[in-house]
Amino acid sequence: MDETILDAFRQNGLSRRAFLKFCAATASLLALPPAAAAAMAEKLASTPRPTVIYLSYQECTGCLESMTRSFSPTIEHLMFNSISLAFNDTLQAAAGEAAEAARKEAMRKAWGKYILIVDGAVPMGAGGAYCVAAGQSAVDDLRHAAQGAAAIIAVGTCAAFGGVPYAAPNPTGAVPVSEVIRDRPIINVSGCPPIPEVMTGVVVYYLSFGMPALDRQGRPLTFYGNTIHDRCYRRPFYDEGRFAHTFDDEGARNGWCLYELGCKGPVTYNACATLKWNQGTSFPIQSGHGCLGCSEPDFWDKGGFYRPLPAATGHWPRGEVLGGAALGGTVVGVGAAALARSRQQAAAAKSAKEVSSPSPKEDSHEH
């Protein structure tokens, strides 16, 4: 198993030129400085091909669907040239007990060194009974697999932040991977789904340079370092104050900013605006729809996809609540005034008594 990645390339009949091209394309994708392509080439040329275990829990397979559409580096390159994908329910040919046996064997051989990719949230409710495969609950399975992992990549918002299963009312008690595993490095690759090139890119980056720099949400800064808003081609319209107010108005036709239509771009960290989707074809905002903020925690529960960002998240009845506050203020104000008036009256009465019986000292004044 000590075959390097470059070796794998050569075995597949590819020249060093192809390898260099792969590195250049990947470095460009990772937005690394061009010089890093050379460094990456050097590192990958000497790095053993790692074993990857891909586990799926409460998920929709959307992330894997997305990943297989990566065009640079392609999933094929990853699988055939860069990594040894030892287990994936969906992609592998084997099934049932044969698959389980293959997985156990792969994990045993690469124990402590393999990369664990987790897709989906982990249900904790009912003792983990909401997701059981081969007689083992997802949470137990994850705990076991994590023990032998060098690093964990939590792919998709479900694995990274809980995602859809975690959304209120979270009937299965779903949690993200980071709440189950706390003693292994975890890279969160969020998104619903994540951008395909981001998923494959993160794997290549990890192989080339080890743990990437992460943001506070545990996401690689390379892809999640900027908000959609900051990289959005419609940003100039935001700055000029030109907005679409409905999806079919003049502003929408002119391609103006979708902020007023609930775009969450300003608080969403992802690479959609630069890498785009479907081989760089487009991304939601370019297609005329605001960003949902799918790579952010709790994006389902943030007050509504079409509510503008600065709008209040709560759905409280504005008129009633504020009217009630006004009424309450009025009542308290009247009360305070009534109290003040009664004190005034008491003061006036006391002063009147003093005047009607003048103090002898004041009276005895003579010149």
Binding site: L339, A340, S351, E354, S359, H365
Partner: protein, 453 residues
Amino acid sequence: MTGTDTQFPLELNQPRLSIQKPEPRYDKQGEMADTERLDRAMRGFVKDFGATAALYMESCVHCGQCAEVCQYYVQTGDPKYTPIWKLEPFKQAYKRETGPFAPFFRLFNLKRRVTVRELEEWQELIYDSCTQCGRCTMVCPMGIDIASLVGLARHGMAAAGLVPHELWATVERAKREGSPLGATPAVLKDRIAWLEDEHSVEIPLDRSQADVLMTISSIEVMKYPQSIVALARIMKRMGASWTFRSDGYEATNFSMFAGDQQGQREASLKLIEAAIAVGASVLILPECGHAYQALRWQGANLYGKPLPFRVLQIAEYLAEGIRQGKLQLQPVQSSVTFHDPCQIVRRGGATEAPREVLRALGVELREMDAHGAYNWCCGGGGGVVTIHRADPLRYKTYQIKMQQVEDTGAEMLVSTCSNCRQTFDDGQAHFHWDKTAQSLLELVADHLVTEQE
């Protein structure tokens, strides 16, 4: 003399110029415990607080602009003369006692109780250094009528016996004798008889019925008797049915300055009742600023119902006479500048009447740079002119006025308030100035078209 401090004897009859730097002092009337004094101050202050005053107290944003238009701050540069600062203890008392958050402030003691010490210290600010001229009202971006609040503060000070001695003594005398300067009914009768004799004019007194009840400032009786003669000659020319009443003649109301509401009301009621007794349709106030404030604008409110007669300041009456053709005047061959008495013009609204009269006199009117509602005060209003210890400060503020008058280059200075006139005379003597303030009334009397024409 119980009730006043014997260490600083009152020298009311001394010529004003003999007063040399008085020692700084706090005056107190009556013997009472500090707590009692404080209680009275707060009650006196709080009991009259209405929505308007409360609104003012709530609105200050501490911008400090009032200081920049106040003659005391402008002339001294001392921040304690900032108009709104003069109300500081009262603002605090208001917040604690009457404001909408008062129960809250009391509960948590967020606005602590004002002390008697503070009130003593503030005596100078409430009385000596505020003529209630209301210039600050005109600049306040929040429109706070600071002068009226000073009036309310004085209610509290008076109730607590914390009035400067001379002002207090003046009020006491007015209450006792019916006049602050000793113009008792007897003195008035004497004076009138003597003036009738001396100037061969008829000055009606105590007629039972008259259209016009004429009132007088005791300053005029004692210092400017020629004013009474002028009045009589003009009233005769206008053919008016008028009279003075010995039961209601004193237009000055020093109780208002001191903050003694009871006294203020009594003084006003005398005039009102006299006017009603003679069946007057018009009550004429003399050349006196605060009299206008007291009766024209506060009289009905103290009386409790609208007054059954009109209240006019003499200049307004003269202007009416001119308009109706009852007064023909000879032109005055001179340039004139007019000093607006604060309480008649800025705070009284009679801005045009005196100017109408001046126009009828054909003078060349040279307005001061700031005039009308934006005029600088002479420095003697609000009872300040009675307070001896305030003299050095008053002279400083008076310099603004002198400069203003000089800047116009007018030959003659005219006003229509004997209190201003008294302040001008005093300032003139102090600074050896060559300008004498003239009475508008006397100027008119001196320029009546002669009988034959």
